[in-house]
């Protein structure tokens, strides 16, 4: 059974079609990348899968649960990292992780917080207020928050957005390790190198439709491209 199964998903904002009947599936433990230009429908798709938005057509099944009927159950199993997420500024990093962990099984709270602190790698700064953090520190805190809960499915929207090379590389390693431990990862990214490095499979989305899907290597061979960036340009812009 696939971890995620999306069939003919349609999402509209008023009269505007944001997602126009896309279908894809993600296997358990797989890192799946959703790639496309700005406004293609990536974030909308991720928001739908994160139970934030309702659907106007089609069906979505996550870890065996129908999204339209069992959103509450799905929230226990997933973790979502929005692209421009923030944290509560008046809390310390540790207090923020504690606040999030408290929503989960009380027996696992301390373990989650410990894991979150390790992932963030913020050292003593974990006890400082969040509003004193740099952008990189904030992103690391949020990645820590997203992965500490041991989700079955991690939905990461631009996980390395706005990070410097070193921080970005650390987070990529983290995502890879997380997937190796059994978590299914669905991510979106503008960084084609990142996609190539991380993803087992990718889907290229443009104007609300999936225009290509497959393993990065297979797609590069198919389009006789040297990298995913060239595949992206050929499928989306040509």
């Amino acid at each position: 059974m696939p971890a995620v199964e999306v069939k003919n998903l349609v999402k509209k904002y008023g009269s505007q079609d944001a997602v126009k009947g896309i279908s894809f599936s993600i296997n358990e433990g797989e890192i799946f990348g959703l790639i496309g230009p700005n406004g293609a429908g990536k974030t909308t798709t991720l928001r739908v899968l994160s139970t934030l938005l309702s659907i106007n057509g089609g069906s979505v099944s996550i870890l065996g649960h129908d999204l339209s009927k069992h959103a509450g159950e799905i929230r226990k199993l997933i973790s979502y990292l929005p692209e421009d997420a923030g944290a509560y500024k008046n809390l310390s990093g540790r207090a923020y992780l504690q606040f999030i962990a408290n929503f989960f099984d009380s027996k696992e709270v301390q373990g989650m917080v410990k894991k979150g602190i390790e992932i963030t790698n913020l050292g003593t700064r974990i006890d400082d207020r969040v509003d004193t953090y740099s952008k990189g520190m904030m992103r690391r805190l949020l990645v820590g928050r997203a992965l500490m809960t041991n989700p079955k499915l991690a939905i990461l929207d631009e996980p390395t957005s706005g990070l410097d090379v070193i921080n970005a590389q650390e987070i990529r390693k983290l995502v890879k390790t997380t997937a190796q431990s059994g978590t299914t990862v669905l991510l979106s990214s503008h960084n084609m190198l990142e996609v190539e490095y991380l993803c087992d499979r990718i889907a290229l989305i443009s104007d609300g439709k999936i225009v290509e899907e497959g393993k990065p290597k297979t797609l590069m061979e198919k389009y006789k491209a040297r990298n995913i960036e060239e595949v992206f340009i050929r499928t989306v812009h040509e």
Binding site: S50, L52, G72, R75, Y80, P82, A85, A87
Partner: protein, 426 residues
């Protein structure tokens, strides 16, 4: 275009938004309406009061006083026997009048003997609001006028009379009828003043809690959106009702603390103005029992929950801190309007449209409850409690529904009129 002109044009375009003007236009409309109402009341106060006169004394001063009353007031009942008092009160009540004034047999005789002549005044009190006592003030002016005229007469007749007596040749024995009760020796102005001073605290507390806690809730929702924490919160395994209730409970708690701090200051402020020698209303049976305080507490608590759920609903429309500031305006107005209404008027005497409007505002009920309970008007209090409980439940249900829809994140609303207010200069 010059740099100055270019910047000025851009600034004006940014400031010329409905969000800037709608609140000010609403305030202007409210003040205009209040002004019209006050003008109407002023016109009413300049009109001669409607009274009944029973003149038992047919001697000079009695007849003079009676004539003065007839010429300066609209007399709807006239008699020469105090035994007709009951009929007189009924007639004046029927004509929406203010009082029946009895000039007893010995009125002239006592004054001539150097003793104060007694005027018996039977007040028919309609409402306990400050504006309700305008008519009785007009009658009090008439009595003062009678007093002055008799003083002049006495001085003209005998210049060697006792000064303190001649300045106050009459005295009043008053009885007030209000809400099927008889208050012997007390005037409507005194009752109204005492009731107002006793029930002033709750409207102010209510208003402050609502404004403070309401602003907390709306700003909290706006900050969740502005700081981009809402999306994370909504994907966590927590029920929407828990998120809504948690925010309301926290705001109510903080609002109560702020209100207590505020009230400590207000208590000192009011103690500086406390009247001495006031009438003890408890001796007239006008005292709140412990049961009444429970009713007030329930009403206050439910109104707070209703108010905060309304703020929560408004907060779902707030996109950032700026728009949250705009959205606190309707709540502030909703808290202030009933405060002024209950301060100046009695719910019973309000025009039907204003009555419905006042009843519809949940914050009105705890403000009206103390006065209603003093007069055992449980229908208004319990009816109000049921109404605000239903109001709170419906509003919380709507908020939870909004939390379950895309509207919270996408900001889409079917209410087109609300859109310009929400889209405030992001």
């Amino acid at each position: 275009m010059s740099g100055l002109g270019n910047i000025t044009k851009k600034e004006i375009r940014e400031l010329l938004t409905p969000a800037t003007f709608v609140p000010i236009i609403l305030v202007a409309l409210i003040f205009a309406t209040m002004g019209n109402s006050i003008q109407g009341i002023q016109e009413q106060s300049t009109a001669p009061p409607t009274i009944g006169v029973i003149t038992e004394d047919n001697s000079t001063l009695g007849i003079a006083a009676s004539t003065l009353l007839h010429t300066s007031a609209k007399t709807v009942y006239n008699s020469t026997s105090a035994s007709d008092l009951k009929t007189g009160i009924e007639a004046v009540t029927e004509h929406n009048g203010v009082a029946v004034i009895v000039i007893p047999k010995n009125f002239t005789e006592r004054i001539i003997k150097g003793q104060q002549g007694t005027l018996q005044i039977y007040w028919i009190m309609k409402g306990a609001g400050l504006l309700d006592t305008i008519s009785s003030s007009a009658v009090e002016s008439l009595i003062a006028y009678i007093n002055t005229n008799i003083s002049k007469e006495l001085i003209t007749q005998n210049s060697s009379v006792n000064a303190s007596f001649v300045l106050s040749p009459t005295k009043r024995i008053e009885t007030t009828y209000f809400k099927d009760r008889e208050f012997v020796g007390i005037s409507p102005n005194t009752i109204s003043g005492m009731l107002s001073s006793q029930s002033l605290l709750i409207p102010i507390v209510m208003m402050m809690i609502i404004i403070m806690a309401g602003s907390i809730v709306i700003t909290s929702m706006a900050l969740e959106k502005e700081n981009k924490t809402l999306e994370t919160l909504l994907t966590l395994p927590v029920k929407r009702t828990s998120i809504v209730s948690g925010k309301i409970i926290a705001a109510a708690f903080i609002g109560l603390i702020l209100a207590v701090i505020y009230m400590v200051g207000m208590q000192f402020y009011f103690s500086g103005f406390q009247m001495t020698g006031g009438v003890n209303l408890a001796s007239y049976g006008l005292a709140l029992t412990s049961g009444d305080f429970i009713w007030i507490g329930v009403s206050l608590f439910l109104a707070l929950i209703a108010g905060l759920s309304l703020c929560m609903l408004l907060g779902t429309f707030a996109k950032n801190y700026k728009s949250a500031q705009t959205l606190t305006f309707p709540i502030t107005m909703l808290a202030m309007i009933p405060m002024f209404i209950t301060m100046f008027a009695d719910y019973e005497t309000l025009p039907i449209a204003v009555k419905i409007f006042t009843f519809a505002i949940p914050f009105s009920h705890p403000m009206m409850a103390p006065r209603a309970l003093l007069f055992h008007d449980y229908t208004l209090v319990i009816g109000g409690i049921v109404y605000i409980a239903v109001f709170a439940l419906v509003t919380i249900s709507i908020v939870v529904w909004v939390f379950k829809t895309d509207r919270l994140l996408t900001g889409t609303t079917k209410f087109k009129w609300l859109k310009p207010l929400i889209r405030r200069r992001h």
